[in-house]
């Protein structure tokens, strides 16, 4: 794909090579190719447009694009740099203040919240020497409590549940009190999946957040998400103003343009990536890897050295 994108860009330049007065048309053509590549990677259509317009300005500012031996590659590099910058920013750690630290997990149905909650508890236990408590606040999904119990057992982290209680706000508050009593220093609150247009459910998550005042609120998004990622990311952000994003299921072959869409739309850092069903498949986020992935590129290192 990297080959084909940069080849296609070379193609766009080759046809007009030598006619320097056509620079703008030339670049416009390759920008269109880049836009297609982004859209094919599920980057939101509108964002792909805005983004490539910016790239175009950058490229036009660099007069050497047309003179470059391989203008296509230079264009790809400009795109890469812009993508990395957009998705990067300063490395955002997870806020572990508070006693106990309270972390709220939210997102659409099936995005991977419960699995991530288990992974995060293991990560904090092993890598940060914390004593987490998992909390089952999904009172709707069949066997949701059993699921988180099994995961808790797998990672050796206690799980707070109230099988008879259908009020997630109460459960979360009692869990925090329980954590204090039992000396647990991080409370991870897993919630039910919900749609951003489900008013009652969005009110519920707002109420949970209001009641427990989390130190960290994380929005979990499936990396296979398409154009809708922007709507959902924005709607959840409007309601719970989350601190960071978790990208899941990156162990597949999705290009993951949703990562760019979400970051572009809400400006919140991507803090973790989830890459499997097993509890130890949690990773920090590398903007450069993500940019390569979106562009469908293989080995960026060799490429950058070439350019």
């Amino acid at each position: 794909m990297f080959e084909s994108l940069s080849d296609r860009l070379e193609g766009a330049f080759k046809t007009l090579k030598g006619e320097s007065k056509l620079t703008e048309i030339n670049i416009a053509q390759s920008v269109k190719e880049i836009r297609r590549a982004l859209v094919a990677a599920d980057v939101n259509y509108k964002i792909a447009k805005e983004f490539t317009d910016k790239v175009k300005d950058k490229a036009l500012g660099q007069e050497n694009v047309l003179k470059a031996v391989r203008p296509g590659e230079l264009m790809v590099k400009i795109v890469m740099d812009e993508l990395v910058e957009l998705m990067g920013g300063q490395a955002a750690g997870i806020n572990l203040n508070g006693s106990p630290t309270v972390i709220l997990i939210a997102g659409l149905q099936g995005s991977g919240k419960t699995t991530f909650s288990g992974k995060l508890s293991l990560f904090l236990k092993e890598k940060r020497k914390k004593k987490p408590l998992l909390v089952a606040c999904d009172v709707y999904r069949p066997a949701a409590i059993n699921q988180i119990n099994v995961l808790g057992e797998q990672v050796g982290v206690p799980v707070y549940t109230e099988p008879e209680n259908k009020n997630p706000v109460e459960i979360a508050l009692k869990a925090i009190a329980h954590a204090q009593e039992t000396n647990r220093d991080v409370v991870i609150v897993d919630t039910a999946g919900r749609l951003s247009i489900d008013e009652a459910m969005m009110k519920e998550i707002a109420n949970i957040k209001e009641a427990i005042q989390p130190n960290e609120t994380l929005f979990v998004v499936d990396s296979m998400t398409g154009q809708d990622a922007v709507n959902t990311a924005k709607a959840f952000n409007d309601v719970i103003n989350y601190d960071g994003v978790v990208l899941t299921k990156l162990d597949g072959d999705t290009r993951g343009g949703a990562a760019l869409s979400v970051k572009y739309t809400v400006g919140k850092p991507i803090k973790f990536v989830s890459t499997g069903e097993q509890m130890d498949t949690l990773d920090v986020f590398y903007p450069d890897r993500m940019a390569q992935r979106i562009l469908g590129m293989g080995d960026i290192v060799s490429f950058v050295e070439k350019a």
């Binding site: 659409l108 119990n149 247009i197 499936d222 296979m224 398409g226 343009g257 069903e277």
Partner: protein
């Protein structure tokens, strides 16, 4: 941003008195299709068909263009074997009819099985669901709760058992107990995981071993929020199990699920069901016309 709801209004205005569809309209159309996850290739295909049709029919009057657009998309679906079902008919007249449900993680397989079992139950069919996901935490419990909601039978060998054996024995159980239909759940798996895809092939073969004509249906569940990756999913699941039908879930959200247009076009697999909520009744039979309308309708946030 202009809303999508008045697209047809704009379309009508922009083409009034013209014999070709102008750029602006096509751009707007492209915008709508792409942001519905229809994907570049299928979008281009639809636009070309419309241009052709307008040129051929010499563009009769404005309101007709709306119809042409809807028609062309519906036709694209019809060419690909998607015929609107009348009701929840079983995919075979043979009993028991065996349905194998597959898909990537978290798309809604187990939920769809619950809903489908309920539909068959409503028709007075004797239904059993088989707990072939023996891997994901509490997957067996989840299906069991669904079977209790439905009031249908449930077959399981417990967690961490061989899913191919569960599938085989579910078929056997259905034969011995005179079930009309057995619906077998499988663990979610990413299509890129070779071993897990091989396991799926094995599950299917072990069903056929018990009943050579089965499974009568392999239902691939796709999540409407998924973008272009759904095409890869369809490709690999089809290779592994000869998918015969699609279900598109989570259409009650803001995502449009437009990627299924391309999928049904490429793989000629009919779309049978849509999921429109988490409740037991929230499964619907796919309707081409309604789906096309929804591509152009704005959901209010």
């Amino acid at each position: 941003e202009k809303t999508k709801s008045n697209f047809f209004g704009k379309l009508t205005k922009a083409v009034a008195g013209k014999s070709t569809v102008d750029e602006e309209v096509l751009d707007e159309l492209e915008n709508i299709l792409i942001t519905s996850d229809v994907g570049l290739d299928t979008t281009v295909k639809i636009i070309e068909r419309i241009e052709e049709r307008v040129a051929r029919d010499k563009y009769i009057n404005t309101s007709e263009l709306n119809e042409i657009l809807r028609d062309e998309i519906v036709r694209l679906l019809a060419e690909n074997n998607t015929e609107d079902l009348e009701e929840y008919s079983l995919p075979s007249t043979e009993t028991p009819t065996i349905i194998l449900v597959v898909g990537v993680n978290g798309v809604g397989k187990t939920t769809t099985i619950g809903k489908l079992a309920w539909q068959y139950k409503q028709q007075g069919k004797k239904v059993v669901v088989g707990a072939g996901d023996t891997f994901r935490a509490a997957a067996v419990d989840q299906l069991k709760i669904w079977s209790e909601r439905v009031g249908c039978d449930f077959y399981s060998k417990g967690m961490y058992t061989d899913p191919a054996a569960v599938a085989y024995e579910t078929v056997n159980y259905a034969i011995e107990n005179g079930h009309d239909v057995a619906i077998i759940d499988t663990a979610g798996r990413l299509h890129t995981k070779i071993n897990l895809m091989k396991e799926l092939g094995k599950i299917k073969r072990s069903i056929s071993k018990k009943m050579p004509t089965a499974p009568h249906e392999v239902l691939l569940v796709l999540d409407a929020t998924t973008g272009q990756n759904a095409i890869e999913q369809a490709k690999h699941f089809t290779n592994a199990t000869d998918v015969t039908a699609l279900a598109l879930t989570k259409l009650d959200g803001t995502a449009k699920g437009g990627v299924v247009l391309g999928i049904s076009d490429i793989f000629k697999i009919p779309i049978k069901y849509i999921g429109v909520g988490e409740g037991i009744e929230q499964l619907q039979i796919f309707n081409k016309r309604a789906f096309v309308e929804s591509l152009f309708a704005e959901k209010v946030q």
